[in-house]
Amino acid sequence: MAPSMTCDAAGELIALAALGVLDADDGAVLDRHIAVCARCRASALMAQRTAAALPESLDLLEAPAGLRRRLLTAVYSSAGPVQPRRRTLRDVWRRVPRSRILTALAPLAIGAATVLGVWSLTRTDSAQVETFPVQASTSLPTARGVLTFYVTRSHSVLTVAGVPTPATPGQLPNVYEIWLIPSNGGPKPVAFLSPSPSGGDWTAVVSGDLRGYRTLAATIEPPGGEAKPTGPEIFSIPLS
């Protein structure tokens, strides 16, 4: 049984464990041994540290730029593109620290978690901002709002009012997906609009530089969004 396992046998398991190829059953045996054997615990700690140095041997590659943009879009809108359906609005709201809610809600009267997330990021950037007004389309003439581009931070915050909750054709509601349309080429999916928990404003955060794009547009898409626009446009924002 575990305590009677020899230190020599434990040493073999420690090396395998450090490299991540010990199965769970042997791992449980090892756990019981190192819980009572200080010497093997110290060995295991050193083996763990040694293995942790291995990634240091790699020559670093450049990660794709689109990856950063997608991740930051997902995080700032708190609706990851990988599994957007798992997160409810309540979850998003719960993520926002109370102190930040209290600080930000009163003066700004903005409820969306996404905006709160960005608030502290952008508050120091009073200079170097550009704003672009929303142009409503005939399919949603009530839409109004503004896109604020924080030039030095390469982030934009879109705040829109007059937007109804999208229809729920199945178990999940449709989404408002945001696109950037370059001067040349097709629309790129960049964010989803998130509603304020108290109703009213909808917001989205768009990562990256807006220069080089001629238009931002929003469309209605099925739950989880689409890679290319399929639904009706609800508004657009000329960026030139």
């Binding site: 040493g11 990634p55 990856l67």
Partner: protein, 189 residues
């Protein structure tokens, strides 16, 4: 191998997107490099890094500083996901060492802190190059490909006991090389 940055950590515990951005900018390249090392496929590596960082964002609160640096935590998440992708998620459950870094022996910890501070890419590459080729291959198959001891035994046509011996010896030698001095026989009880 830097220590957790306290400001970033503080932000992490408050689940701030800004902290996420700092973390991604600091470790995104390493994460992608690890995924590419395991998968050798750009699209698959990109998927794995994306999934890993979304998981990191959702699991900020599960990070335990006493079990190692943020860097080590992220490397482990990315490597495990990449290996799962390579080998299929239906594989056996893996056991992971998760020892409390703060509970080591003080004298060893001081030595290792100096080692970590002086770790460079060249130094780790050299330590790997200094291993006998069969030991290096064994370590790389295990660590970067998640290949089990019995599979390595079949692939390299050696008894499983030999595989175990190589793994154990190679880790001990790596540690010695990184520390730059002869060590007590911690690996040879």
């Amino acid at each position: 191998m830097e220590q957790p940055d306290s400001t970033t950590l503080d932000l992490l515990t408050r689940e701030s997107p800004e902290a996420f951005e700092v973390i991604y900018d600091r470790y995104g390249r390493l994460a992608y490099t690890i995924a590419m090392r395991v998968l050798s496929d750009e699209a698959a590596a990109e998927d794995v890094v994306q999934e890993s960082f979304i998981a990191i964002w959702r699991r900020f609160l599960t990070y335990r500083p006493e079990r190692g640096s943020i860097r080590t935590w992220i490397c482990s998440i990315v490597r495990n996901r990449a290996i799962d992708r390579l080998r299929g998620e239906s594989g056996r459950l893996r056991y992971e060492l998760a020892l409390d870094e703060s509970r080591g022996e003080p004298s060893l910890d001081d030595t290792w802190s100096q080692v970590v501070a002086s770790l460079t890419r060249e130094r780790v590459q050299q330590a790997l190059r200094d291993l006998p080729v069969e030991q290096r291959q064994t370590v790389e198959l295990a660590y970067w490909c998640g290949v089990s001891q019995s599979e390595i035994s079949q692939m390299m046509r050696v008894p499983i006991g030999t595989v175990k011996g190589r793994i154990r010896l190679s880790l001990a030698k790596l540690r010695e090389s990184l520390q730059g001095k002869e060590e007590e026989a911690w690996h040879r009880p």
